[in-house]
């Protein structure tokens, strides 16, 4: 065998061995493949999920946004609340929580809210469970497919029983009892029902990788959104602007090095996309016209760009922190722990 062939064969063997090890890792690791920013354990969410929101807590906490504005809540309030939580549960949200996901089948404020919150991070499972059992009155528990589900009899707002459970050592799910139990059961069986929701998954896959926060919603969710807005003549105007129906919406955002927001909405056709884009541009222009009273609004408006691509409308906004500072009311200087932005 020639030297070249030896090299080729050697490379193939390394890659093949690596592939075998990788496949073995998949087989042995109960975690399933992630979909976009959604971790494998979140695929146990019900197939009927219509919207998902995600927050990368690590990026959020490390962002200049958090450093600047977390102190606005009161320098003493934050440490105390977190300190109490840490004392009871061993959980420091800033340190131990990685991601928070909110999912639901209806608009959260609807009469039959079945939202779920999935939190991933590092938990002292015993301490958290103990805190749940002892700190909340009326907490009961049941076992679903071998997994303990804590039930909260919180019926004050008429939303039904709330529940919480550990999907695994690094994942907590909270929300409506039925939704939590569905999720827990799927997880215990090793099912991934959310994979059957191909429309939602394709939206999740289009989320820009590494976004600090994001949201996707499909047609069902968006059907409940307003169909029209008051015309720019002001609240007193009798006219209204018809909004084209959206088939899907993807929102992503970042907080570092500036506040960035990207919205992509899919409409039924190119005409609808153009109309929607014109509506958005109109509002941006309106804001710009208010510049006489508030010059900073003009900068805000100019930071927004609207474009269309076939049936999609893209809205991108980029707000430097200096601009946001200029439109905030005067406040106390930022804390000494504010991180400096690095290139």
């Amino acid at each position: 065998m020639t030297r070249s062939r030896t090299v080729v064969l050697g490379s193939a063997m390394i890659v093949g061995a690596g592939a075998l090890v990788a496949l073995g890792a998949i087989y042995l690791d109960p975690a399933r493949a992630a979909v976009g920013p959604l971790p494998p354990q979140a695929l146990s969410l019900p197939a009927g999920t219509r919207f998902v929101m995600g927050l990368d807590v690590k990026r959020f906490v490390a962002s200049p946004f958090y450093a600047r504005y977390s102190g606005a809540a009161g320098a003493s309030a934050r440490p105390q609340a977190f300190a109490e939580l840490e004392e009871k549960t061993g959980l420091n949200p800033e340190r131990d929580i990685d991601q928070v996901y909110v999912a639901g089948g209806q608009v959260p404020s609807g009469p039959r809210a079945d939202g779920l919150v999935v939190v991933t991070g590092r938990f002292d499972r015993y301490k958290v469970a103990r805190a749940i059992e002892t700190e909340h009155k009326g907490v009961t528990s049941k076992t679903v497919q071998g997994i303990t589900v804590y039930l909260f009899n919180e019926d004050r707002s008429g939303r039904g029983t709330g529940a919480a459970a550990f999907l695994d050592d690094s994942t907590i799910v909270l929300g409506a009892q039925s939704a939590v139990e569905q999720t827990v059961a799927a997880r215990a069986r090793g099912d991934v029902p959310l994979r059957n929701n191909t429309a939602l998954l394709s939206l999740i896959e289009s989320v820009k990788p590494g976004s600090t926060f994001w949201m996707v919603g499909d047609q069902t969710l968006l059907a409940n959104m307003p169909k029209s807005l008051p015309a720019p003549g002001g609240p007193g105007s009798s006219q209204s602007l018809e909004l084209p129906a959206l088939k899907s919406l993807v929102v992503t955002g970042d907080l570092d090095p500036q506040v960035s927001l990207d919205l992509t909405g899919e409409t039924g056709d190119e005409v609808a996309a153009k109309n929607l884009a014109d509506v958005v541009r109109g509002f941006v222009a309106l804001a710009s016209l208010q510049a006489n009273q508030k010059p900073e609004l003009k900068q805000l408006a100019s930071a927004v760009s609207v474009s269309t691509e076939a049936t999609r409308v893209h809205v991108a906004a980029r707000f430097p922190y200096e601009l946001l500072d200029s439109i905030q009311p005067r406040r106390a200087p930022a804390s000494a722990s504010q991180p400096s932005s690095t290139p």
Partner: protein, 284 residues
């Protein structure tokens, strides 16, 4: 002279099975060129330098495990670093450079070395020559890159044990696919530049480090680059601030695959057309 007279090549009857009225069949000819080209490509000084360039992440992975891991910022994971290696080091820099230095030289090396005559005076179509050499380039660069990606992946993602590695494996396979696509796409483009231009390296560098920056612009312009499609295919993204804006748009996967496939076909077809019509006059 009797010994020589006795050592003549076999009589024409032994050409049975070889149709001398047509060129050698394309696959067979391409395979013969591939074998010949691979021999010179894999075991060469250029490949040694490329092996170092493409294998640097392995050294980084070892350094990471030994030294850097304890200094990792809390919001950055080892997998984020792996994503950085793939997105920035390989896809954006090392692989396009490897493609530039190999693919522009596919024909140029033969011309400069004056061995092109041997290839052009064989009963093979010129397309088979180009195809065979391109395949040799692809195999050579893939042999240098894919093992490095696999090793780097495991070095970085198993820093704190094997928990969660399984969840990352699909990203590894996807990245390997994107690596191959990167080599194909840039290789096809630089093959075209190599047959079109006498000195393709400088224009190639300008393309990589000037034109490809267009991928960072908003709107439709990124679609005129190669890197915009490749970036959109990888699922992870570097965690550092500042680099967040470099990534730009994420184009749909189907569009990326179609666009890259079309680019590869068009560039190679154009290269073939030019190579087939060109005369190679070696100065004596």
């Amino acid at each position: 002279m009797s010994a020589s007279a006795a050592a003549r090549p076999p009589a024409p009857e032994s050409t049975a099975g070889r149709d001398t009225s047509r060129p050698v069949p394309f696959p067979r000819a391409a395979r013969a060129v591939f074998d010949l080209a691979l021999e010179g490509m894999v075991w060469s000084r250029r490949s040694l330098l490329m092996a170092i360039l493409l294998g640097l992440p392995i050294a980084f992975g070892l350094l990471f495990r030994g030294v850097i891991v304890s200094r990792l910022p809390p919001r950055m994971t080892a997998f984020d670093l792996y994503g950085f290696v793939i997105a920035i080091y390989y896809i954006r820099n090392a692989l396009p450079l490897a493609a530039l230095f190999y693919a522009t030289a596919l024909i140029a090396d033969e011309v400069d070395g004056r061995t092109i005559t041997y290839l052009l005076t064989r009963p093979v179509r010129r397309g088979a020559i180009l195809f065979g050499k391109f395949a040799a380039y692809l195999v050579t660069t893939a042999c240098l890159t894919l093992p490095a990606v696999v090793i780097t992946f495991f070095l970085l993602t198993t820093t704190r044990g094997w928990t969660g590695v399984g969840a990352r494996v699909p990203d590894l396979f996807r990245d390997l696919g994107v690596v191959v696509l990167t080599l194909l796409a840039y290789g096809a483009f630089f093959t075209l530049m190599g047959v079109l231009l006498r000195r393709p390296v400088i224009p190639g560098l300008l393309f990589l480090f000037v034109w490809e920056l267009v991928a960072n612009l908003p709107g439709y312009m990124p679609r005129l680059t190669i890197t915009a499609y490749l970036r959109s295919l990888i699922r992870h993204r570097p965690p550092d601030e500042g680099l967040a804006e470099i990534f730009g748009q994420v184009l749909p996967t189907a569009l990326c695959l179609e666009a890259l496939g079309a680019m590869i076909v068009v560039f190679l077809a154009a290269a073939l057309w030019i190579f087939a019509a060109r005369e190679y006059v070696l100065e004596q």
